[in-house]
Amino acid sequence: MRDLAIRYWRTLTRPSAYYSLGFLVVSGFAAGVIFWGGFNTAMELTNTEQFCIGCHEMRDNVYQEIQPTIHFTNRSGVRAKCSDCHVPKDWTHKMARKMQASKEVWGWIFGTIDTREEFLAKRLELAGREWERMKANDSRECRNCHEFVSMDFTRQSKRAADAHSTALAARVSEGGKTCIDCHKGIAHRLPDMANQ
């Protein structure tokens, strides 16, 4: 066994005698292209609605709740699917979020949210995490579609125009507000905050 390992280590670390440099480089490059394509395809797959509602935790709770909202169906046929709001677009932060999802796999294995009651009991904690995240990134996921500079205040209700032209116009660091500060519970129902 040890001899075998040593022999293959030698093969690995010395130039090939029987395969040309051109063949090795080109085949390695091709394999790399195929791998990276496959990697990105798999990554895209984990961003689909079908993947998200593959587990009952999502399918029976948050997915049911988004369906009556305007982010699911609307006159123009544009849908904000799960990953549009819950997965960062930036590569590094996307990878970090995908790794964070390992905790969701953990919860799935140990049945942390097996019933509607368990979900409702955890809802404030889960929603709080998303609120905190969207506050930290200045509601980036909202702004991927909704741009402040494109807002026509004359076509908003007076209450909305008043809020958007003042609080939303200022930077958060200068006492302004970000989308999620007011628009909580727009895609899923609000947690029960009676005891907060």
Partner: protein
């Protein structure tokens, strides 16, 4: 002029045949298993490090 795609010598002795076999196995192992597994490990390791950084130091991502 005749273009030869592979100028490597053909293995003659049993030892050389064995070496060619080992080179082929090593190459296939590297491209099919080792490199993809390493790549996935490095990417997920990086993701994990960033996640832990967010949990303990930096707070939620700003991106």
């Amino acid at each position: 002029m005749k273009i030869v795609l592979n100028n490597a010598p053909a293995p003659a002795t049993p030892d050389e045949k064995q070496r060619k076999l080992e080179e082929r196995r090593t190459g296939i192992f590297l491209t099919i298993f080792m490199a993809p597994i390493l790549a996935v490990l490095i990417v997920s390791g990086w993701g994990f490090v960033v996640w832990m950084w967010q949990v303990f130091v930096a707070g939620p991502p700003t991106y």
